[in-house]
């Protein structure tokens, strides 16, 4: 089974939350780093101050001072730098002075002497649980020239810096985590709020029932992103409403159209049974009933055909149809009937072919032709003109006769539509012929239009062309 895609709120919250977290983490990292650098700089400054003081002391020491006095002088050379330790030794390793309690010997052995102290040249080491930062320098001394360059090691304890940094880091982490949580919650809330229009639309949609198909979403009252959704939803509703209306009209029509023949049969049978009649009379009634039944059966058959067409269940078996030959067959079929009505039939045009279901196309054309013949006055001629190019074929069925009023013209392909309500039913079937013709042509990818002038009415069919 395919899993449901993650909710929009979750997706947005996760992605925005991830971005916020990354931003906060890198921000914290930068703060921590800059504070750390600041401390290192402070230490370097201090170490440089100590070195400066020592250099000054060594430069100003009077000649022939006793070693003890010299040591005292060195011990006092640096003041105000309580954390600072230093050790001065000769090239051969003997210690001239070392801050009491300090042990810089190991550091001197490990570290390389540097020219001057900076962030890049200081080193860090640990000793007896205390962390130090320091550097080793070598320095010439005017006084002790005979001995050679002195090695000066300076260091400062940085434990308090590290403690501060550590607690600051903890604090920073806490802040980051809390800020992330708040940001994610806020995002989730904002996204949820942002989806409110969707919930509102869904609520509106829920109101639409089959008896309220006229309700539409107000696309000007939704955010820009949802306008398209609302518009296409409204479009779908339009189509549904149309089909729905046609369906209910359809069942209404069926009921209405069947009511008349049923009433006829019922009344006739009731009257017939109300008293004894001769065999001849009974037979007459049964015949009359049979005619009504036949009409109903045909109507039901036609309605089923149209229902199939409406539901796209018509599956034409496509073969190449020669339209001119097909029309000639139909002329042959209708010929005698037309002749009796004093109506001529004329076919003009070239040999054209289309792809279609022979039976269906024949039925559709037959409906059009019989319709045309029926409305042509005595002595006039129905003319059929066919022509085609590589893409489409055109069949025009023109009959002289009374104009179909413009207000009726758009409706003549609707089932049961009769322009003249008083027109007799018996003469022209159930009014489904044109609807069936239209369904058939449309099932074949064609279309049919009608135009009517005072002199003549033209039905024009266009269908995809096919090589003969």
């Amino acid at each position: 089974m395919k899993r449901r895609p993650a909710s929009l709120a979750l997706r947005l919250t996760v992605s925005i939350g991830a971005v916020i977290t990354v931003v906060l983490l890198s921000f914290g990292w930068m703060i921590e780093r800059s504070i750390n650098n600041h401390f290192i700089q402070q230490d370097v400054d201090e170490l440089n101050a100590v070195v400066q003081a020592l250099k000054h002391t060594l430069a100003t020491v009077p000649a022939n001072e006793s070693p003890d006095a010299f040591r005292d002088r060195l011990a006092n050379a640096v003041s105000g730098h309580h954390n600072a330790q230093y050790r001065i030794s000769t090239p051969n390793g003997s210690v001239i002075y070392s801050t009491p309690g300090s042990d810089l010997a190991r550091f001197v052995r490990m570290a390389q002497p540097v020219e001057h102290i900076s962030i890049d040249t200081v080193g860090i080491w640990q000793d007896h649980g205390e962390t130090f930062r320091g550097a080793v320098l070598s320095m010439d001394s005017d006084i002790l020239r005979g001995i050679g360059p002195l090695t000066i090691a300076v260091a400062t304890g940085i434990n308090f810096h590290l403690h501060y940094l550590e607690s600051f880091r903890d604090y920073l982490r806490l802040i980051t985590v809390v800020a992330c949580l708040i940001a994610i919650l806020a995002t989730w809330f904002a996204v949820h709020r942002g989806h409110a229009p969707i919930r509102r639309i869904s609520h509106e949609i829920r109101r639409i029932r089959s008896d309220q198909m006229h309700i539409r979403l107000n696309s000007s009252a939704v955010p820009a992103e949802l306008v398209e959704l609302a518009t296409s939803f409204n479009g779908m509703l339009d189509r549904l409403e149309d089909v729905f209306k046609r369906l209910s009209d359809f069942s209404g029509d069926i009921a209405h159209e069947l009511r008349t023949p049923i009433t006829n049969i019922k009344t006739q049978t009731e009257v017939a049974l109300s008293q004894a009649r001769s065999v001849e009379q009974y037979r007459e009634i049964l015949y009359s009933n049979l005619e009504e039944y036949e009409r109903m059966a045909k109507m039901v058959g036609d309605m089923l055909f149209l229902a199939q067409a409406d539901n796209h269940l018509l599956k034409p078996e496509l073969v190449t149809i020669e339209l001119d030959a097909e029309l000639r067959t139909l002329f042959d079929y209708f010929g005698a009937w037309a002749e009796e009505r004093g109506v001529g039939l004329k076919l003009a045009g070239e040999r054209v072919c289309t792809l279609g279901d022979t039976l269906m196309i024949r039925r559709a054309l037959s409906n059009l032709l019989s319709n045309a013949i029926r409305y042509t006055p005595h002595g006039k001629t129905v003319s059929v003109h066919i022509e085609g190019n590589l893409e489409s074929v055109k069949i025009q069925i023109v009959n002289p006769g009374p104009q179909i009023p413009p207000q009726h013209l758009p409706h003549i392909f609707e089932r049961f539509y009769r322009p003249d309500a008083s027109r007799q039913r018996s003469s022209e079937g159930a009014g489904l012929g044109l609807a069936i013709a239209k369904s058939i042509f449309e099932a074949h990818g064609g279309r049919i239009t009608a135009t009517s002038t005072e002199q003549e009415t033209t039905f024009e069919v266009r269908m995809p062309a096919q090589m003969c």
Binding site: L290, A297, K298, G301, Y333, A336, R362, S366, R374
Partner: protein, 227 residues
């Protein structure tokens, strides 16, 4: 001629059986699929009329069983669903013809007779004769009382159909389908016009009258009117 009718709808079954019996057939009526299945496989029938929408055993199964048993008994099925799939399925399974409900009884009768005739040796009569009407099939000529009658191609085809199926009521739809290849009902009275014209040529001025209208059902060619 013995027919089996399998139909679960009580009224339809009764009336079709009555109609067929009165038309001279011996009819066994099975009111459910199980009986129908049994009778179809064990009895010997010249034709089986089968409603495919049965509550127990589907009509298709009966056709299938029949064909698997190598029985060639023609089967005509009745269906209420006018879908191409249904028709194709029925014909593929080995049925010979079908009718969509509601159907005209005269149509059913005509189809039954066609199917029964199919089994018989084809008659290649060059000459057909009814009373004093003679048809010369190869030359497509008709004579009444020895007088040649001019007929159009379609008129001759119509007359030939009527003569070949003498004494049978032919529904308009069957005539349209056999003579003009129009397999649908038309709103028009084209067939009536064609018959009227044919009658004017064949019957007017001659005795006995051969072409008869059977009201509500169709046309029939016979020496003596039946109704």
């Amino acid at each position: 001629m013995k027919l089996l009718l399998v139909e679960d709808e009580v009224k339809t079954g009764d009336y079709v059986k009555q109609g067929l019996t009165e038309s001279g057939f011996i009819v066994d009526l099975a009111r459910n699929g199980l009986d129908g299945h049994h009778l179809a496989l064990t009895g010997s029938y010249d034709l089986i009329i089968l409603d495919v929408m049965l509550p127990d055993v589907e009509g298709w199964r009966i056709v299938q069983a029949l064909r698997e048993a190598k029985s060639a008994t023609p089967v005509l099925f009745l269906t209420a669903r006018d879908s191409v799939e249904d028709r194709v399925k029925g014909l593929e399974l080995g049925a010979d013809d079908y009718l969509v409900k509601p159907f005209a009884f005269s149509e059913l009768l005509a189809r039954v007779r066609t199917l029964l005739r199919r089994g018989a040796a084809p008659v290649f009569n060059d000459q057909l004769q009814v009373a004093n009407l003679t048809l010369d099939i190869p030359r497509r000529r008709a004579q009444r009382d020895g007088v040649r009658i001019d007929l159009t191609n379609k008129e001759f085809a119509l007359l030939e159909l009527l003569v070949r199926r003498q004494s049978e009521v032919l529904p308009r739809s069957l005539i349209a389908s056999q003579v003009w290849d129009m397999n649908f009902d038309s709103d028009t009275n084209v067939i009536d016009v064609a018959i009227r014209r044919l009658r004017a040529k064949i019957d007017d001025g001659y005795e006995p009258k051969l072409i008869h209208t059977v009201r509500g059902m169709g046309y029939m060619l016979d020496v003596t009117p039946s109704a």
